[in-house]
């Protein structure tokens, strides 16, 4: 037993120096390689990488460098005024891809606010459609029974309110959201023209009439943009099963939600979202409807 312990201890003592962590004075990560001298065992890192690591390790230092770059008369500021990045400012010629992490949060917010869009929330358009009766396919499938569900699946206002509240909660943090009712009369008139075209605008189709109305808005303020929302609830022949032939059919009900953000200045679609839920005409009380709207706005962007 003692002999075994002795052998084990010797083996550990021999192994430990080999496994010992080798840390350089700067605390940077090490790639152990087999070289003759200790100082040659550290892989040389580019200066940008070292600076980045240092700023990351010491946020106070990062802030001081950012503050210095903001000071008037700074040579770096004149060279890259839109870059608050300390790494880039320290070395203007560098091509580092890391600097975004080091940007001062206050400066980023200020820059965003200055370029913020003023999004006018148009009244959503809600359409109920009913397709009745299917036909036999050539395989002799039976004619499905017409869907007898109540045509208005819910009050139009309920759908509108859900869409508006979703837009307010999802869009407001990212851009300045304006209520149509609170605008001045020239803007309200232009919005009224656009609201008549909501169903096509929501899918990103901007026709001549819409372009001229958007130009009217842009003349008032070039930062104006509109958010058009459209819901189509379609009911049709339901699902069926014929036990004699084995034929089956799926319901033709569907729910379509379309939203588009369109710039007043350019008349172009900035962002577009679309959700098509097949086989279901969702009521405003259905959780699926709220979920669909939330998912719709998930990737909302004003760029």
């Amino acid at each position: 037993m003692k002999v075994a312990h002795f052998i084990l201890c010797c083996w550990v003592l021999l192994l430990v120096p080999c496994l010992r962590a080798q840390t350089p004075p700067g605390g940077k990560a090490i790639v152990p390689i087999e070289l003759a001298k200790d100082h040659e065992q550290f892989v040389a890192s580019p200066s940008e990488q070292v600076k980045f690591a240092m700023f990351k390790a010491n946020p106070a230092l990062s802030e001081r460098v950012a503050g210095a770059s903001q000071s008037p008369g700074s040579a770096q500021e004149t060279q890259s005024p839109r870059s608050p990045d300390p790494v880039q400012n320290a070395e203007p010629g560098s091509q580092s891809s890391e600097p975004a992490h080091l940007a001062s949060p206050d400066m980023t917010v200020a820059a965003t606010q200055s370029q913020r869009l003023k999004i006018i929330l148009l009244k959503p358009s809600v359409r109920f459609e009913d397709i009745h009766k299917g036909v036999r396919s050539e395989w002799g499938l039976r004619e499905p029974e017409a869907n007898k569900s109540a045509k208005p699946l819910g009050a139009e206002e309920n759908y509108e309110n859900l869409l508006l509240s979703a837009a307010r909660s999802e869009v407001a943090p990212k851009a300045l959201l304006l209520e149509r009712e609170k605008l001045d009369s020239p803007a309200t008139d232009a919005c009224a023209k656009l609201e008549a075209l909501t169903s096509r605008l929501a899918r990103g189709s901007v026709n001549e009439a819409a372009t001229s109305a958007l130009a009217e808005l842009a003349a008032l303020d070039e930062h104006y943009a509109i958010l058009a929302q459209f819901v189509r609830l379609e009911t049709g022949p339901g699902r069926s099963w014929n036990p004699n032939t084995g034929s089956i059919t799926s319901s033709t009900d569907s729910t379509l939600v379309q939203v588009a953000l369109i710039s007043g200045k350019t008349g172009k679609v900035i962002w577009k979202g679309e959700r098509l839920i097949r086989n279901k005409a969702l009521r405003p009380t259905d959780s699926g409807f709220s979920k669909a709207i939330t998912e719709l706005y998930r990737d909302f962007d004003t760029k």
Partner: protein, 193 residues
Amino acid sequence: MKRALRNGFVVVFITVLCPLLSEAKKKEKLPPDPRFAAIQNISVLPVVDARAGKKAGVNLEKLQGGVVKTLKKKHYSVGAASSSGEVGEVAVEDIEGADPKYLKKLGPSSERWVMVVFLDDVASKITFGSTGNAELRGFLFDKDTGDLIWKDRGVGQAGQGGLMGMTMKGMMKGAALEAAVSSLLASVPKRPK
């Protein structure tokens, strides 16, 4: 003897009655609307893809051909147009609220009656088998008068249950589209030969 007379009477009765009934049935099939009777040639424009969501590949030319074929079965003189005309891209909203000025630019300038068909949706899925759904909507205009002669929507459903049905998923879209074309044009009256 009596039996032979009775059989003979039945045969004569059927021989006389059948042509009368068939003639009466033929008379019912005449188009009730004179606007349909006046149609000389319908130009079917290329099918407009008005689908939302992810769009699976559909042969729109084949669909246009299906519409032409079905109208021909109803004894209309029909031709497939290669473009939508001067209007360019056609939207459902443009067609629903079309004014005569817009209609003049729709389809070939030489054609008076033009039909526009929109493909609203087509999808197939696997359940306990496989199913397919398709939706179409169509409009027929008289460009000279600026009137909307006919409009309708058609839905087609197809499907087959079981393991066999699952293997047939690839055929469901086509079957649903065929059914949708039949459903759409069911309300177009059949013309006499």
